[in-house]
Subunit: 254 residues, 3 copies
Amino acid sequence: MSTTMMIDPGLPTGQFTDVIASHGDYVDLVKFGWGTALVTRDLDRKTAVLREAGIGYYFGGTLFERYLWGGRLDDFLALVEGSGATHIEVSNGTIPLDQPTKAEYVRRLSAYRPVLSEVGYKDAERSAHLSPADWVGAIREDLDAGAELVITETRESGRSGMARPDGHVRDDVLRAVLAGTDPARLLFEAPTKDLQVELIKEIGPEVNLGNIAAADLVGVETLRRGLRGDTLLQLAPAGFPAAQPTVHKGAINA
Amino acid sequence: MSTTMMIDPGLPTGQFTDVIASHGDYVDLVKFGWGTALVTRDLDRKTAVLREAGIGYYFGGTLFERYLWGGRLDDFLALVEGSGATHIEVSNGTIPLDQPTKAEYVRRLSAYRPVLSEVGYKDAERSAHLSPADWVGAIREDLDAGAELVITETRESGRSGMARPDGHVRDDVLRAVLAGTDPARLLFEAPTKDLQVELIKEIGPEVNLGNIAAADLVGVETLRRGLRGDTLLQLAPAGFPAAQPTVHKGAINA
Amino acid sequence: MSTTMMIDPGLPTGQFTDVIASHGDYVDLVKFGWGTALVTRDLDRKTAVLREAGIGYYFGGTLFERYLWGGRLDDFLALVEGSGATHIEVSNGTIPLDQPTKAEYVRRLSAYRPVLSEVGYKDAERSAHLSPADWVGAIREDLDAGAELVITETRESGRSGMARPDGHVRDDVLRAVLAGTDPARLLFEAPTKDLQVELIKEIGPEVNLGNIAAADLVGVETLRRGLRGDTLLQLAPAGFPAAQPTVHKGAINA
């Protein structure tokens, strides 16, 4: 029941198709990162691949912000419509858009598509000034406004938003957020293995993870299943050493 | 009018073809990094793809240095000829070749192909000893010798040459260089997003950028157009909040 | 005579095929990293590509550990058999399995396939507690137990096992190991360029290297041949400046 969101930072079309053909089972949503959709020659071919595979897709929140910043939100909605995007991301990671106004856009745009709203800023310093209570308040406000999921911002470097400059999760924020919100309503951006491991250990293998690179889809799936060293002892069923394993001669090559 | 140079560090042929087919519009030059061309099975197929797309290509300066170091410069020129390379890079990043002698090679080799000369060393410590005046002097000398463009060295780590060990641009060098040289004659190696953002903000979206990975071509193009958070507020036309945007009910799904 | 082991962290099938078609000459062994094989849709197609190319393959030691931990080693051997894997890796990087017992598994499993055994832990702190004498003793014990090669653990970050947290080789360990063991019996995991360069400079271009990413296969081959700045002066034959090279007018475009 977990959601994995892959970010497409501008993959060439052949590689994109290859990734979905091989690993589409481990992807629930694809985000065309920031404004990449506008400089992607074959966006139609990519979206056709996703519709065929039954995978949702939408544009990064920065594209929403860019259109809003330019006073052209209607053009943005036309783009959503024309591309068949299944969701809309509403964020204020870059432009000066206060939280209540952002929540108002969550409410309005929910009339068009299920909305994923984002909390947190791309700028590490601005994000560091958000207190745990700020995070909790913003998440609640966005959910109340109708957001289907709330995304906790963590840039591709894994060192801002809900992550600390050293690349680890901000525990105080995470604890406060989990105290008041069902994790099934949250999508945690986790672009690095460190963050993926920490969130899976803390919240469980069903945690919703986003900003997963195409190259990490299989890796994340192995972490969820205890098939990698980082989570093996926590998540894999143990029959050892209680039942000391033996090798029966002839098990193979018999 | 900006130039983007992609580095090929040894992509498999299918991926290379896929990248050019999808993102060739954002590439002006391809450099077959260092000596990779000599261990590339399908160099002919790669160069055919580039000629078809109208993209120039050449060998990394290390290959020039390797042949020079071995006393086999004629063999290097035969390789240039045989491969149809459109440019020649002349550098002294690794071998002991002083600046005036390097400039002499710029002059001589310009008889064969337009020359891209490189200033700066691959070794971080040696590069750190180059003063701003050294950089300016070397760039001027190479341009006077006939170089079409001068490349400022920054290794793929983004932490040597014109970058500091912390991965940011050496401001003193950049300021001195820009004071005396038209940036259109310079190609800045910028293998990391930090460097790409700093150079675009400092010099403008038309800055010539090199050592761009295939995976970053779309990202760099979005930075140039203000389609990413890092440059959105600087480069995107603003209609907000002066003209507060509205959502007209029925813009989509009407 | 050197061995290069590529790690597959879950490449999509098309890319995997492309890599082997282009760069198969530089790969001797492929490791399906940790438990990725269990979540790979097209494992059969990948192994067919490798058999066709004459390249050996096996499962990461974590998969052996996972099955052992679950008390299902027979199932592991059935998987080895069914997949046609050419080798078995035996390790104790994650689960609590002491060195003598690990060596006993090396001995037993050598009856089924040539065994690659691994020394070192994935956890940086545990690995740091291994003294040079511990490394030497474990390597000797595994070789005595019949291991074809002993792998020195270095995770994909390049910052644990035989690497220090700063990403460089643990010199004391390396010196001790080389004093008592033929390097031809060792396979050094070297996932970063820093480690690749250090090992090639220290042991020579024939050093066996493992955990090489698909994207680095060509890069490693150029390092081995002195075709990259990092090893050019050490490994490339010099004819300069003793025999100052000249450019003969007309060498190309004649």
